[in-house]
Point group: none
Chain length 403, copies 2
């Protein structure tokens, strides 16, 4: 949405509270011809009852046909067009492991790799070494690398992947990747793309030189490759654009990280859905926007496990009355994207949305499911970033446009 | 769609095959109150069965309320926003008669006209002389015009209309038309709009001077007028933007021409629908995108002949199983625009779309028709150019956006 338009329309009224309940990867397709989706198959008496009083529809996370990663998909739900608001891979990687990236940091994604005696890459993933080895190598490098004037952080991610963060003054991140992307070539130099990034590029080169020596006797991970150099984006923040005090409640670091990026307060990691809902109840008076994230619907979609995905949806449905008991003005129930069990991956398929508000014009469709949403008042394939604007309207947050 | 976004998301996976079956002018409106459209009235058991497994919707070829010509309407279906990607009239005219316009050519549409003794236009269409006379005059001019350094081609189009092509080096086509558009005025000089077009404008002026003398004793076609000077556009091409190997199968030159413009391979003109489908089967292994064009649905719409249009749709329905037998990943059945029998012309009405894909989430609507499409998951009045992006997604062609 157009943040300038939103800001210009905001009033200073006390407002109703908004809950955005995201079941990750909620959207699905049938496993077999004529079959149901997970949401359609799930027994969801509470959502169905709420649907009767709500508007339904199907949002499109990015653009037609484009499959979103988790970061961009959530930005869309938060009202940020993900094509316009791009997060660098290095920063996303930091968000995913709960590393607290600072404004001046340069972050990058790293791979341990294997090089031959001439320094040519022969395995870009170092035989997919297990995470334990990456943990040890990150500690080794953290201990031994020494570059005056900056701090260098190394953190294991998963298997051969790690996060590199360089903290110092005057660093910019327009730096070319060192990964040649093919075997048989030497790692590329970390070249600055603009003059503001030259200092950081030199530091990265010095880091690579030291790392090469430190790793020389390791096998198979005797070298590293760096990609996705990035800094924290400088975006309009949620509280400022929407005049909202937002809280994020999520079990996994990536989702807390994206929420933090847009300026939300973030609760520590909950251990269960019940705990997430307890946090919501506990913080109800202190905030006026709540993002509650449910992870496992996506995980079971990735596993291709439809019965387990159905069961997770039913667990969330059973908890829904606790949200309604708080008397919110707006409740949005949706996913960030589709993760069809039949595809075992994220996909581009539009995502079902249930939009309840005290002031909505109900569609009177007594069921929450992909096909039911086709008939809903929100429409089909509307941009995800429209939802925040609509939520603000129903929370009584906008002035009239013109006289 | 955003070609940069599409290109940035392409993977290098082997992909499923896509068939785009276009029934020209398919969309319609009822002939009388409470009546059916041609597509609704047609008996289409094969399309209806496929609809049950597909997504339906209605595309908008250009913009709300805008009636498309055939060229722009097809560009939209090929994923090129026709408002952004404009083809000059001279080039379209050449495409329509199968003239092989080259990169450096300047093409224009011509009219034979009648002038009085002072050289003032008294009939802009020379009494609508029949095509045979235009054929003879084009041959006469081709034989007698002589301009050093360039080749000049004249080709009859229909009645008083012809195509002019000038072939040479360093020619540009920003040239003002010579048609005064009103009677009682002399033909205008062919003025260059920019300095790059001065050479071509001088050649056009010399051509007009020679033609005036050659035609002086003809009656009523004793002069000519030129409009729509244009060169071949320099656009991103289909194979490059989409990573697809495309083939066009069409009976009429215009459609083969537009396909050629975007970089498709083009089959020679077929003589029947059966022959078009034989070409599709024969070339199935060699390409991964197939554009199959059906002309007569439009022709009968222009004639206002609803029963004949219904019959053409039924003929295509009977051939549909031959496409499905090839096991495509994606089949799109639609029109380029509407040609309502009740209006006897192209129109702006949204066009029904049936989008079948192995990975689609079926709407489970058991009928293909304008009103049935209102309830479909593609939505109503979405831009035609979205279809290509969606086809690429369902053919497994895209990487994830972000992490």
């Amino acid at each position: 949405m157009d943040f300038e338009l939103i800001k210009s329309q905001l009033n200073d009224q006390p407002m109703g509270k908004i809950v955005l309940l995201v079941m990750d990867g909620l959207g699905d397709i049938p496993m077999e011809e004529g079959g149901k989706t997970a949401l359609e198959a799930a027994s969801t008496p509470n959502m169905d009852a709420l649907a009767q009083k709500s508007m339904l529809g199907l949002h499109q996370p990015i653009r037609t046909g484009i499959t979103p990663g988790s970061g961009p998909a959530h930005l869309g739900l938060f009202g940020y067009d993900p094509v316009q608001y791009k997060v660098g891979r290095g920063v996303l990687s930091g968000l995913g492991i709960d590393f607290d990236i600072q404004t001046n940091d340069v972050a990058a994604r790293g791979n341990f790799c294997t090089v031959d005696e001439q320094g040519r890459v022969i395995d870009r993933r170092a035989g997919r070494i297990p995470t334990e080895i990456t943990v040890r190598l990150c500690e080794l490098l953290s201990e031994k690398v020494n570059i005056p004037g900056v701090e260098v952080f190394l953190r294991p991610v998963k298997e051969y992947r790690f996060l590199l963060v360089i903290r110092g003054e005057g660093l910019n991140a327009n730096i070319e990747e060192t990964d040649p992307l093919v075997v048989g070539e030497k790692p590329l130099p970390a070249k600055a793309v603009d003059s503001e990034s030259e200092k950081a590029a030199e530091i990265v080169q010095e880091f690579v030189r030291q790392a090469e020596k430190i790793l020389a006797d390791e096998h198979p991970a005797n070298m590293l490759l760096l990609r996705g150099f990035a800094k924290l984006p400088d975006w309009p923040l949620f509280p400022e654009v929407y005049g909202l005090k937002p809280l994020a409640i999520a079990m996994y670091p990536m989702y807390r990280g994206v929420a933090k990026l847009v300026g939300m307060d973030v609760m520590p990691a909950a251990q269960s859905y019940e705990e997430e809902f307890e946090m919501l109840e506990e913080k109800w008076e202190d905030y006026d926007f709540f993002f509650v994230h449910i992870k496992k619907t996506d995980s079971y979609g990735e596993d291709g496990n439809m019965p387990a995905k159905v069961h997770e949806i039913e667990k969330v449905d059973a908890l829904l009355p606790r949200i309604l008991a708080l008397d919110p003005s707006v409740v949005i129930i949706t996913g960030d994207h589709s993760t069809p069990c039949a595809m075992k991956s994220h996909s581009w398929h539009p995502v079902p949305v249930l939009f309840y508000a005290k002031t909505c014009r109900p569609d009177e469709i007594p069921q929450f499911g992909e096909r039911a949403c086709l008939r809903g008042g929100l429409g089909v394939r509307f941009p995800a970033y429209d939802l925040m604007t609509l939520a603000l309207a129903h929370a009584g947050r906008f002035e009239k446009f013109g006289a």
